[in-house]
Amino acid sequence: MPTFRARVFVTLKPSVFDPQGRTIVESLHSMGYGRVGDVRQGKYFELDVDADSTESARTTVDEVSHRLLANPVIESYRVEIENRDGDAPRI
């Protein structure tokens, strides 16, 4: 069974205030980077998943993302999947 590498990007929904992002922006401004307008901080996960197909791997990663990696009340997520052997296209 092939192994797939999934990358999951979790971000706060736009309507949710991000105190960490705000703190980072203010810090960047005091460092002199006035051209940085806005920062939103999110999370990045890498998962190795054994599955028969890319679709099957994606289903598992979607489920894992929805149940644990992201809180659907306040966060959205995006998934990228590739075959660990490097053959399959990114999805």
Partner: protein
């Protein structure tokens, strides 16, 4: 009657809850480890404060999948009274037993006394209060910024599910009285059937005058009275 105090790895207010219930209020209480699959016939479940699983990933996100949470959920669904304090409130939110989510405080970690106003007395944990009662109890949290989407907030307001709000010493809902940026100064909510209550402040740490305030006692006294009155929905799990 018996209280179950759930203990997750990283819980640190479990002993405060146990002490308040057992030594201050003279009730039977036991610790229940998060891997247990039963709450041992308890009449009330407390999810205490602390940093379950180090708050890794998101506060309460991992604890909600602990084996004991199946029993806690079943108990809650059958109408049993469940109190989530601070980290416990966060676990209940992640578990979907309460609506909404917690964000990091808009400002910084806050460890201080706050005033909360009792908005509803029709929960097992506020039955001995009067609406509008002001309780001076401590908070100690970095992620107590309560959030829910606007339609959920409106539903909670409409159904009277906002149980506690942060207020000034004069009892007013003000920005200055809000320690963490929570929407609508919400300090605690209940579920639709009103038996599950979560709040960020620590009533169990305000049960003895020697510790600075005894205003929190009434929260635990209320549920004791509720159970002893033979509340019809109490169940054994």
């Amino acid at each position: 009657m018996k209280f179950a105090v759930i203990v997750f790895p990283g819980s640190n207010c479990d002993h405060d809850a146990y002490h308040a219930v057992k030594h201050v209020l003279g009730q039977d209480a036991e610790f229940v480890w998060h891997k247990d699959t039963s709450i041992g016939g308890a009449d009330v479940v407390i999810l205490p404060g602390g940093f379950a699983h180090g708050d890794y990933l998101r506060t309460g996100a991992i604890a909600r999948f602990s084996p004991v949470m199946d029993a806690v959920s079943a108990f809650a669904r059958s109408g049993g009274p469940v109190l989530g304090i601070c980290n416990g409130f966060q676990v209940l939110l992640e578990a979907g037993l309460l609506d909404g989510a917690m964000l990091r405080n808009s400002d910084k970690y806050r460890c201080e006394y706050v005033n909360v106003r009792v908005e509803r007395t029709d929960t097992p944990f506020t039955g001995l209060c009067s609406a509008g009662d002001r309780l001076r109890i401590p908070i100690a949290h970095g992620e107590g910024n309560y959030y829910a989407p606007p339609d959920v907030l409106d539903r909670l307001e409409h159904n009277g599910q906002i149980v506690f709000r942060y207020v000034s010493a004069e009892g007013e809902v003000t920005d200055a009285a809000n320690p963490n940026g929570s929407l609508r100064n919400i300090a605690g909510v209940c579920n639709a059937t009103r038996n599950v209550v979560g709040l960020m402040p620590h009533p169990e740490r305000a049960c003895e005058p020697a510790l600075g305030s005894a205003d929190g006692r009434v929260v635990l006294e209320s549920v004791i009275a509720h159970v002893k009155a033979g509340a019809p929905l109490a169940a054994r799990a």
